[in-house]
């Protein structure tokens, strides 16, 4: 059965992937592991950066990598509570 992820679920998946990859991963890695299209990846990366969940770094070869911020870790820690609250009141 295919379970459709909502926005918060996708954000959680992205953050979890970054965490599992030792807190540093390139965008292609996120795209494949989170099963996102390129357009969705850009959209979600922008959103998670804006919300302060992840930080973007560009190395000297102009390659981008992403890492979790303390706020991103906090989101992952409290995800179950957030999930339950959103589900209760249809906030997602």
């Amino acid at each position: 059965m295919i379970i459709k992820r909502d926005r918060v679920g996708i954000i959680r998946d992205i953050l979890q992937i970054i965490k599992e990859k030792g807190n540093r991963i390139n965008p292609t890695g996120i795209m494949y592991k989170a099963n996102l299209s390129h357009k969705m990846l850009i959209e979600y990366l922008n959103e998670t950066i804006t919300k302060g969940f992840i930080a973007e770094e560009i190395d000297k070869n102009k390659k981008k990598t992403y890492s979790l911020t303390p706020r991103g870790y906090k989101f992952l820690d409290d995800y179950e509570t957030i999930r339950k609250f959103f589900d209760s009141y249809g906030l997602n």
């Binding site: 919300k51 302060g52 509570t81 339950k84 609250f85 959103f86 209760s88 009141y89 249809g90 906030l91």
Partner: protein, 220 residues
Amino acid sequence: MTLSTLVSGWSFGYDLIFESVFAIISLILAIFAFQIYKLAGEDKSRLFGVSFLLISISYFVQIAFNLVYASNLGTSICTLANLPSNNAILYYGNYLHFLFMIIGLAVLLYMTFDINHSEILWFLVILSTVSLLVSSNEFYAFYLLSTIYLAFITWYFIRNYFRKKQKLSLMTAVAFSFLLFGSFHFFLSVNHQLYFIIGYFLELIAYILILLNLILVQKK
């Protein structure tokens, strides 16, 4: 001033207890929604927090005015403000309660629309406020509007339950159904005080369910 006589009857004192419970639970829910907003950054949780904060303020305002009415301060204020009687304090207290409550419900209703147009939010808020202000019977206007708003809000939570099929979303749908029935009973209570009592108890059940839901949400 139909409201003053209604509230100052048998229920004065008991309604303070009910309203204090509603005010505190709504405030706790609002604070929790703001904490969730801080964590997840989702606008809907902020709107939810704002709506319950306004609902909580509406109860606190009513409690404050009722307490002033019951104390000696009420007589002094009436003399200073040149008000005809102490009942005017209850009247203004109820009026402010209605205003904050209907704006809170309008914000909650907007949240259920799943849209991002602030003009619609302002439209709802202005329409609700003006409807109350120009009404010849603010009691009927308030309970009619709040019953309509709660009907749409409850329908949203019922649909949410059918989407999620979870215990917590069912609890929310049931709690809002009780709020809807409560509001409808208040609407009928102008000439029937029994409905007024039933209305308070229905709201109490709703707020207890909301509190229970919040406890379960936080349970790890």
